[in-house]
């Protein structure tokens, strides 16, 4: 069952649900479907971040059928307004609520306190409570895989990287990509354009064109639309998909994509609420956990690149390879990791320096 909720219509729904709430005893709840709510920062139709979370919600419906009742509110502004949206979902008989953007953190903390019996989950945050868990994905692992492919496939030895904002999440992606590419080609360079936006298709496409004009022959991005891939296709260079498989937009250019897959995690957590074993905590899942996936390779990917990329994936899954392994120096020559040392999660989540080869 789904209820798609616009902001206005939701008020009616919430009012009705709140009115019937006292009638539902704990006995009745055992048979009633489990309410699972989501708030998204963007439109479901962005084909990027919010879309991937909604795919996770749809996977819940497929898995549990009539046993769950999911609902979502899209386009929720980060900041105080999120608290109102969360409260609406909490009052509409949802037992488990996912807040799927970093900027919902304070609201999630506040609303979780007000509804101690409900369970909350916040994506990419770091504040937790008894009934508020956090979860995130290790996208940098995927960056290491595509960086390896880029190192093999680039003839000019230059990649173009369209980035949004210089926050640790993005910086660690740029570094992981460049480190992996330089393992293949020690002279590899990554040229970064800061687009100062998560989403502006025309600007993303123009940024890709500028990078191609300046000699990049592989394009990758940390922005949300497939526009850069289309530009790469038009100019006859390679590119990678972001957040979802974007092959349809660039059949020739699309070498592979880093795919976010939240469905496994969402199904697991809903099961845990159903059998009473849900606990708060922090999950940072990667390729091994199936949260980060690599889309099928394009036929253009050479056997050597394939083998190397598979090797990196296997190493990450087995735990024998960490994309950030010492000795590692930043551009100023400061030793960040000693020989053999791997980056701690804390170090990753605060990363604000670049490795050699990054032009940012």
């Amino acid at each position: 069952m789904t209820s798609i909720i616009t902001r206005r219509r939701f008020n009616f729904g919430a009012g009705a649900a709140a009115a019937t709430l006292p009638l539902i005893g704990s006995g009745a709840r055992a048979q009633a479907p489990l309410g699972v709510g989501f708030i998204y920062v963007g439109p479901v139709g962005d084909h990027g971040w919010s879309w991937t979370h909604d795919q996770g919600r749809l996977a819940l419906e497929k898995e549990f059928g009539a046993k769950v009742k999911t609902s979502f509110i899209e386009n929720v502004a980060e900041g105080p307004d999120a608290a109102r949206a969360l409260r609406q979902l909490a009052q509409a008989n949802n037992q488990l609520i996912f807040a799927t953007s970093f900027g919902f953190m304070n609201s999630a903390v506040q609303v979780a306190k007000q509804f101690p019996k409900l369970k909350f989950e916040h994506a990419t945050g770091y504040q937790r409570a008894e009934n508020l868990a956090t979860y995130n994905a290790r996208f940098y692992e995927g960056r290491a895989v595509i960086g390896t492919i880029a190192g093999h496939m680039s003839k000019s030895g230059q990649a173009g990287y369209i980035a949004s904002f210089p926050i640790p999440e993005v910086v660690m992606g740029i570094n992981a990509f460049t480190l992996a590419a330089r393992k293949v080609n020690p002279n590899f360079k990554t040229k970064v354009i800061w687009a100062s936006t998560w989403y502006d298709p025309a600007k993303e496409a123009d940024a890709a064109k500028a990078l191609i004009d300046q000699g990049a022959d592989v394009i990758t991005q940390h922005t949300d639309s497939p526009a850069a891939l289309q530009a790469a296709e038009q100019r006859g260079v390679f590119a990678f998909g972001q957040a979802s498989d974007m092959k349809a937009f660039a059949p020739k250019a699309h070498l592979t994509a880093i795919v976010d897959d939240w469905s496994g995690y969402y199904i697991k957590r809903v099961k845990e609420v159903m059998d009473g074993s849900w606990k708060s905590g922090d999950v940072w899942g990667g390729i091994k956990d199936g949260m980060v996936k690599i889309a099928p390779y394009n036929d253009a990917v050479t056997p050597a690149a394939r083998a190397a990329a598979d090797e990196v994936q296997k190493g990450i899954v087995a735990g024998t390879l960490h994309p950030f392994t010492g000795e590692l120096k930043d551009q100023k020559g400061v030793v960040r990791l000693k020989a053999g040392e791997t980056a701690s999660d804390e170090m990753l989540s605060k990363m604000d320096w670049y490795v050699d080869g990054v032009q940012a």
């Binding site: 963007g42 139709g45 962005d46 354009i193 298709p201 004009d213 639309s225």
Partner: protein, 307 residues
């Protein structure tokens, strides 16, 4: 820097400027008739989604362009009925039209997310349009040439033709124009429809040529830049052409500078340059105005009713 590279940058610049030019040119005519339609972004989005939906379903980009024009006109007509016939506040209605356009385009576009089409191609045969240097002139699509022709046409219409004179009269003094027998409302309806048509076409340039796909809020605020350009151009088509290409150039060169690794300028500063340029030109204009002629139509934004 090789000539090929300059040509390539120039092509990007032209493509980035064209939708701004179209939408702003439409709005210029609307404002010349004394109507302020702030719903450009909404009309662009409706045009973008309608153009994509029709091009995807029919397989014809040309039909898509026509559908975009029709959708732009249809959206503009909502505004026209509310503000012209029912004399609603133009500023509030225009803002509402933008919000309406964002929502409607998202609703219509929901089924088209993740699809793509063949992009609008160049007009001239490959010998000219793919020539490494000549493509700077011959490598563009039909909408680019159309937009340039429209600048000339609008300029001649406003300055040299009798209907253009009447349109300007309606914008300068609606009551007088009415008194000497001109149908003020009908003329304003026509102007608003023209503005909607060009905004729709400008929006479709995103979904059919620049980034051939549909995604929510595809135009990402270009409608507001178009509105600013009209003021920037002091309501003159020739200056509008200059302004739109200047804006396109700054947007393109900002990215080129970043890609070339220009480090002596902060990326934040480069991102700021288009807006700095706007402020600079606006200041120069208001300094020039002390001696020059007034530029805004005198009746801009004022509702008119014949009774």
């Amino acid at each position: 820097m090789t000539p090929e590279m300059l040509v390539s940058i120039f092509m990007t610049l032209v493509a980035a400027s064209t939708p701004l030019l179209l939408a702003a040119l439409g709005e210029l005519v609307v404002e010349k008739s004394g109507v302020l339609n702030l719903g450009v972004e909404g009309m662009m989005l409706c045009g973008a989604v309608a153009g994509f939906a029709v091009a995807f379903s029919s397989g014809s980009v040309g039909l898509g362009l026509l559908a975009a024009i029709a959708a732009g006109v249809a959206t503009a007509m909502i505004f026209a009925v509310l503000t012209l016939s029912l004399t609603a506040n133009q500023v509030a209605t225009g803002l509402a039209l933008t919000i309406f356009g964002i929502g409607t385009s998202s609703l219509i576009g929901a089924g088209f997310v993740g699809r793509t089409i063949e992009r609008l191609g160049p007009v001239f045969p490959a010998g000219l349009s793919e020539h490494p240097l000549l493509k700077a002139i011959f490598g563009h699509d039909i909408v680019v040439y159309l937009s340039l022709a429209l600048v000339l046409a609008v300029s001649l219409f406003l300055r040299r033709s009798r209907p253009g004179l009447i349109l300007r009269a309606v914008g300068e003094n609606a009551a007088s124009a009415h008194a000497i027998g001109y149908p003020v409302l009908a003329i304003r309806y026509a102007a608003v429809a023209f503005g909607g048509a060009l905004a729709g076409l400008g929006g479709a340039y995103f979904s059919l040529a620049l980034t051939p796909m549909w995604a929510d809020r595809l135009t990402a605020g270009r409608g507001w830049i178009a509105l600013a350009l009209v003021v920037f151009a002091a309501w003159r088509p020739g200056r509008l052409l200059l302004g739109a290409y200047l804006f396109g150039a700054v947007m393109t060169l900002e990215l080129q500078a970043k890609a070339a690794g220009v480090t002596w300028l902060a990326p934040e500063f480069l991102a700021m340059t288009p807006y700095l340029a706007t402020i600079a030109v606006l200041t120069m204009m208001s300094l020039g105005r002390r001696t020059g002629r007034p530029d805004a139509p005198a009746c801009l934004g004022k509702p008119f009713s014949a009774s």
